[in-house]
Amino acid sequence: MESIENRLGLVSFTVDSEPHIKPKSEKCETCSLKICLFICPARLYREEDGKVYFNHEGCLECGTCRIACPEDLDWEYPKGGYGVHYQFG
């Protein structure tokens, strides 16, 4: 088995200091679905004490969370030159 952490370790990223996706924390706290926790192919959404944290460092830029999130997720592509660098896309 390859954990998602190990698989993300195979991907190369240039990480911006500012996240390009920002969950709206007040809405996440009352969200009963929390689809992001299982739908993100990179498992970048984590829940802790009801709060949802997103780690943009390993974002694969697919947009699945944008489509699936029932709330209005603040979603953008990373800045030019930043983000994921696929080599075998």
Binding site: L10, F38, P41, I67, G80
Partner: protein
Amino acid sequence: MERFDAVVIGGGVAGLGSAYTMAVNDLDVLLIERGGNIGEKSVYGGRIYSWVFEQYVKGFDNAPVERWVKKERLTFLDESESVSIEFSASRACSFTAILTKFNRWLSEKVEDAGGLVVSGVKVEDVKREPLRVVADGEEIGCDVVVDAEGVNPIIAMKLGIRKDWKPSEVAVGVKEVFKFSESQINERFLVESDEGLANLFIGYPVFGNGGGFLYTNKDTVSVGLVVRVDFAMKKKLEVYDLVEKFRSHRELASLLKGGSMIEYSAHLVPEAGIHGVPERLHDKNILIVGDTAGFVLNRGFTIRGVDLAFYSGVLAGESIKKALDEGEIALAGEIYQRSVEESVIMRELERFRKALKVLENTRLYEDYPKTIIGILRDVFEIKDESKKLYDSVMEKTKGKKLRMLMDVFSAFRGL
């Protein structure tokens, strides 16, 4: 302010198709790609239908083709067993390729033809009257914009050209790439060095709208899964571990043994067919192409996207050229609209209008793989008494024959 005849947003296959077509027609074209290098944001399954590139790209012989697909295999999976049907073709109409490299090659073609390609710059906005593209805090003037930003249509939505996707209209695809030696692949998949296999999987672990794929490249194998977002939401599928489950199936484990994983990727796929294509493909002289326009055809056992994307780029480029020649650039959008409607893109999407409905049928993904596997197990597994094929079929399809017959009929018609 810098000015171009046309600015293309996005250096994926659709954007490159339009930039290439405009460049060879001597238009002054600028393509802007947000990735640091062309191709590094592109992800797909692994197979490209070649017709459009053979027809439109000079020097296609030198394209970074991995293998020509001569073997098509369809595999039904339940939790532990599998049934495969294989078609061995005498001639190939598609090839496997690494899209990252393929797009990089296409961008060289654009530059050779005189187009300007800039990467590492993100287009933030498009402003109208006069038409300008905003990137890097600067504005670039142009007569026409080709929006090829991909499946997340951020700009097209902002401009009101298209609506966002519903979870039922897109699928999330995840892919892993494994490194082998060329001879390992030849031996394992029984192919010659320039020949490849395309293998689609139905059933485990998705048992719903979606399926798996495996493509052989020169010395790598691409393997992954596609699952519709609404289905994943409903079933609470842990998408990050789906490919892991898939790969642990006996069938896949033996195909991938000894390979070294070198990349993991994810991407969205438009899956609504003609229902995902907006009625208007333009707003005056802003044209949408490729995934942004929803030009992907899912027939269940084949998915076509890359050729349609490139072709829509070609049509956009040709339309812009025509409009400029006629001295009325405002017509570009209308000409493009008409040429897409009359083209193979819309004819194909129209022909498979019902495919989406057929593929909604969850029996296709769970009941049938399990039924087929069950029947074949009965036939081949001999303990003391063997079973007649007829008896097994009758038993396994008890009470569902009519429904199955109708499913098969509608699948034939729809796909």
